[in-house]
């Protein structure tokens, strides 16, 4: 690839193509859609965390003036779910509810108020069942006789254990024996949620031609398309899904949802458009957020800092449904190997079902939790070895073009440069040893994938497709199934096409995320979009450019090798001939070749090991990040503020520098918000804990005030450093930016707090209360370490042994 300073667009900063519309309030989000005669739907949700549905009586609701239709689960019993292995959701619960908030009935009415009132008319008889609310409860063995009442899903591996994984690469027992230092610790990462500013919203319309259209705030219209066809028993070719501009996703809008199916069914039943917009409280229960993970981690290190063995045992609290959970489970073991060489590696994990909102993918998807543990542990090892934490990491980095112990291909690894730059910018190595009491500096690192190497459902088709047409006016239309969720994917597409054609961005129109109009792109998840749609766009546009040059070459009588297109003009490379407009060249090309159009697609190279479970982790390339955090912590109260964050990110090659920085700053913000304050927590129903307020399984804080997130006053200055390694796999050398920069934040904060006041908080969020506890601990002469102290002693299955790559 190599560096090229002659780009017109690539690597520069330019406004989002849809940016001005957003500032004018003209962007049409799903809830901004008002169609003629539209009805409003509401869903009745279970007040119980686990119960059988004995009977539902809709009569009174149907009799309420203004109510046009009502549904229960029996009208749509076919199960669905994002993963083929966990099709465990029902659009409306049929036989039982598995969480507070599980929907059991729905109404469509002439306005929202009537729909809401009608919910109270619906009579539901429940038979309560015992509920499971913690990892420990989820792990309990169930007797045959208990299964009927206590097992949440019959397809679970055993009892309420959804999934069990055990993989060993090499020989960790031997690895630990070789180590000079061995640490064995417990870490806990609390669950948290995406909290998008835009609540989920969908509008469905069933046309007279029998076709269903669904506008929905979704990151994955293609997967929604498939789920609708399945549950509604319609041919997918009769269904159109349009992803409206998403007001924040972060992984929370990547499942096909109950409300999307319900609103579609109501549209079919009533013959009128139907809208549903979830209340903020419902958004908290829709969730699909970060799994709470309890981790036992054992690591062995030689005195030179090399890791001889690493062993993780993770328990994930999955909530009531599968969602992406099986993938999440594998992710808690897949990517910790990308940064520093690990000679021998063992990974065991179990995901349990509990009667709470289902967990799924949130920015980082299962990797922030184990990364937190590893980066904090390295800090502790650094202390054991009397080494600076940055120095420890710099000594042992995965080289370019290498294979990790779990068979992941590292093409380029910019972590070394990230570490050096972040250290230089912050003065980390000097300042952390000289800081005054209460002032602390901490380091964290991370790595993330640029798109999952495998699709969610097994197939051999491309992951991203782009079609391009060029109008005689010189206007270029790019069709792609990708969804812009604010990250700027529309702008990346437009920029790449404009660059390749040598024209101004304003002549490129992007049409996206419409299953009737655009070729399939799998969606905005796993940070796949820039790399995959970018490569597909390049594949589509280059043949068109060729055609334009061939036609121009014929007319101008200059060979194509001597021609180039730039600034909207076709000209001779040495500039000796009068340039011709792009528009003229396009018309010559249409005259010569017929109507202009092209298709390009991208499928990631098949990488990764050949063992069961190898599907999660492989990616065309990986991004790397390093963060230094500066904190000031009061040694009496534990209250702290973050003064500054320095964040270096190996982006490969920025397509649009401003947008990349936006992703880095946004990741820093979200990571910091998790580190300091975000918690998705539920009442246990134990009056000693919750003061007897509310039943077990009720979300404690389902509001934007009580669920804490950073405001503009809480957010410190973030200094962003871009490292460009020009990777061979990405378009122009690009890597992802949307998730990787979040990973190092949480451990950087924990490590900074330790540097400031000597308290180790081995869990997230790192709150003042916990630090205060630690400080009290220290005063009593104890360790000052706050974190989990218990770990379930359940037996894991025999590990699948995998050979280490040569």
């Amino acid at each position: 690839m190599g560096k090229n300073n002659n780009f017109q667009w690539i690597g520069k900063s330019w406004a989002q193509v849809d940016g001005l519309a957003k500032t004018k309030g003209e962007t049409v989000y799903a809830d901004d859609l008002f169609l003629p005669r539209m009805l409003f739907a509401k869903m009745l949700r279970s007040p119980h965390s686990h119960a059988r549905i004995k009977n539902i009586d809709l009569t009174n609701a149907l009799n309420r003036p203004g109510v046009i239709a009502a549904l229960t689960g029996r009208d749509m019993p076919i199960r669905f779910g994002i993963l083929p292995v966990s099709q465990d959701e029902e659009a409306l619960c049929v036989d039982k509810v598995r969480m507070i908030g599980d929907p059991v009935a729905a109404v469509a009415a002439i306005d929202e108020e009537t729909a809401e009132a009608a919910l109270e008319d619906i009579l539901v008889e429940y038979e309560l069942l015992p509920s499971v609310l913690t990892i420990e409860d989820g792990l309990k063995d169930l007797e045959e006789s208990e299964l009927e009442n206590s097992q949440i899903h019959a397809y679970a591996d055993s009892g309420n254990i959804h999934k069990k994984v055990a993989l060993e690469f090499g020989d960790t027992v031997a690895g630990f024996a070789e180590a000079d230092h061995v640490r064995e610790e417990l870490y806990y990462y609390e669950g948290n949620t995406h909290l998008p500013m835009e609540q989920h919203s969908s509008v469905a319309k069933h046309g007279a031609d029998g076709r269903l259209s669904l506008w929905s705030s979704t990151q994955t219209p293609h997967y929604v398309h498939r789920a609708l066809a399945k549950v509604l028993e319609m041919s997918a070719s009769q269904i159109r899904v349009i992803a409206t501009p998403v007001g924040g996703g972060f992984g929370g809008k990547t499942d096909p949802f109950q409300h999307e199916i319900v609103v579609s069914k109501l549209a079919i039943m009533t013959g009128r458009p139907v809208k549903i917009t979830l209340t903020r409280e419902e958004v908290f229960y829709t969730h699909r957020g970060r799994h709470p993970v309890l981790m036992w981690v054992k690591a062995g290190m030689k005195s030179d800092g090399s890791i001889t063995a690493l062993h993780y045992r993770n328990f994930l609290d999955g909530g009531a449904y599968g969602s992406y959970g099986v993938a999440s489970t594998f992710y808690t073991g897949a990517l910790q190997t990308l940064t520093y060489p690990i000679a021998n590696y063992k990974f065991e994990a179990m995901r349990v079902f509990t009667n709470k909102a289902p967990c799924g993918p949130k920015r980082g998807h299962g990797t922030p939790q184990p990364r937190f543990a590893l980066e904090v542990m390295l800090d502790k090892f650094a202390e054991d070895l009397k080494l600076d934490p940055a120095e420890l990491r710099l000594r042992h980095l995965m080289p370019d073009n290498s294979l990790t112990v779990n068979h992941l291909t590292v093409t380029t690894n910019g972590l070394g440069e990230c570490l050096r730059k972040v250290n230089e910018a912050s003065g980390f190595q000097k300042r952390r040893t000289k800081s005054s009491p209460g002032k602390g500096f901490g380091l964290g690192c991370g790595a993330y994938l640029s798109g999952a190497g495998l699709p969610i459902y097994w197939n051999k088709m491309p992951h991203s497709g782009v079609q391009i047409k060029i109008d005689r006016s010189g206007g270029v239309t790019v069709f792609c199934g990708s969804t812009d969720i604010g990250q700027g994917s529309n702008s990346v597409l437009a920029g790449i096409v404009a660059e390749e054609l040598g024209i101004h961005l304003q002549h490129v129109i992007v049409v996206t995320a419409d299953t009737d109009l655009t070729p399939v792109d799998l969606g905005s998840y796993s940070s796949r979009v820039t790399l995959m749609t970018g490569n597909a766009a390049i594949a589509a546009v280059r043949p068109l450019r060729e055609q334009i040059l061939i036609a121009a070459s014929e007319v101008l009588k200059i060979s194509t090798e001597e021609l180039t297109i730039s600034n909207g003009k076709v000209c001779k490379r040495n500039g000796s001939v009068e340039p011709v407009s792009f528009v003229d060249a396009v018309q010559w090309a249409e005259a010569k070749f017929g109507t202009l159009g092209s298709v390009g697609s991208y499928t990631p190279p098949r990488r990764g090991g050949k063992f069961k479970g190898a599907g999660v982790g492989p990616s065309p390339n990986y991004s790397y990040s390093a963060c230094v955090a500066e904190v000031t912590c009061d040694p009496e109260s534990g209250l702290y503020r973050v003064d500054k964050l320095w964040l270096a990110h190996d982006i490969g090659q920025a397509i649009n520098e401003k947008l990349v920085i936006g992703q880095i700053e946004g990741s820093a913000y979200m990571g910091l918000s998790e580190a300091m304050m975000e918690e998705q927590v539920y009442r246990t129903g134990n009056s000693a804990c919750s003061g007897g307020i509310g039943p077990a399984g009720l979300h404690k804080i389902p509001s934007m005030l009580d669920y804490k997130s950073l405001t503009s006053l809480d957010m410190p200055e973030v200094e962003t450093i871009l490292v460009e390694t020009h990777d061979s796999e990405g378009p122009y050398g690009a890597k992802e930016a949307g998730q990787g920069p979040l990973l190092p934040i949480m451990p950087a904060i924990a490590n900074a707090i330790y540097n400031a006041v000597g308290v180790r908080v081995d869990e997230v969020p790192i709150t003042a209360e916990k630090i205060f506890q630690g400080l009290q601990d220290l005063k009593k002469g104890k360790s000052g370490r706050i974190g989990p102290n218990k770990f379930p002693s359940i037996k894991f299955p025999e590990a699948l042994r995998v050979e280490i790559p040569d």
């Binding site: 901004d32 995406h194 903020r280 920085i661 936006g662 005030l705």
Partner: protein
Amino acid sequence: MKQLLTLTINGESHEVWTSTNKTLLEVLREDLNLTGTKHGCELGECGACTVLIEGEPVLACLILPLEVQAQDIQTIEGLTKYGSSTAEPKPHPLQTAFAEQGASQCGYCSPGMLMTAKAFLDKNSKNNSKMPLDRQSIRHALSGNLCRCTGYSKIIEAIEQAANQTS
């Protein structure tokens, strides 16, 4: 129960026949096609629904239109100046700055942010500074508007850019 309301929005008078228990946010979005103002929580906790009433930032989800009939309401739709057949529409310097600086990612918090920022700038222009136009005051002014995408940095930079242009 319905009632006839007269509301003055962005300098235009609107008559609307609507339920007396609807919030200003609902009336704007559902009765007047002014969907630029967003709802994020319906509880007054997120700032997405911020509009200006007599120049003050107010949460439209907590206001009954009945209360504000006699007052001047400004929404995001009113920030860009239109009207002349010969001149281009003029986005407010804040809107241009937001777009240029990348202060809008998903854009959902942007209308609320922009109205809050406009009120702040109107009160704190260089010619009339009761409060210094520094980052800390900007952060303070924005502290009732949540954003999940940007981390606020570019929003603050955009406000600074606009402040320099309007003075």
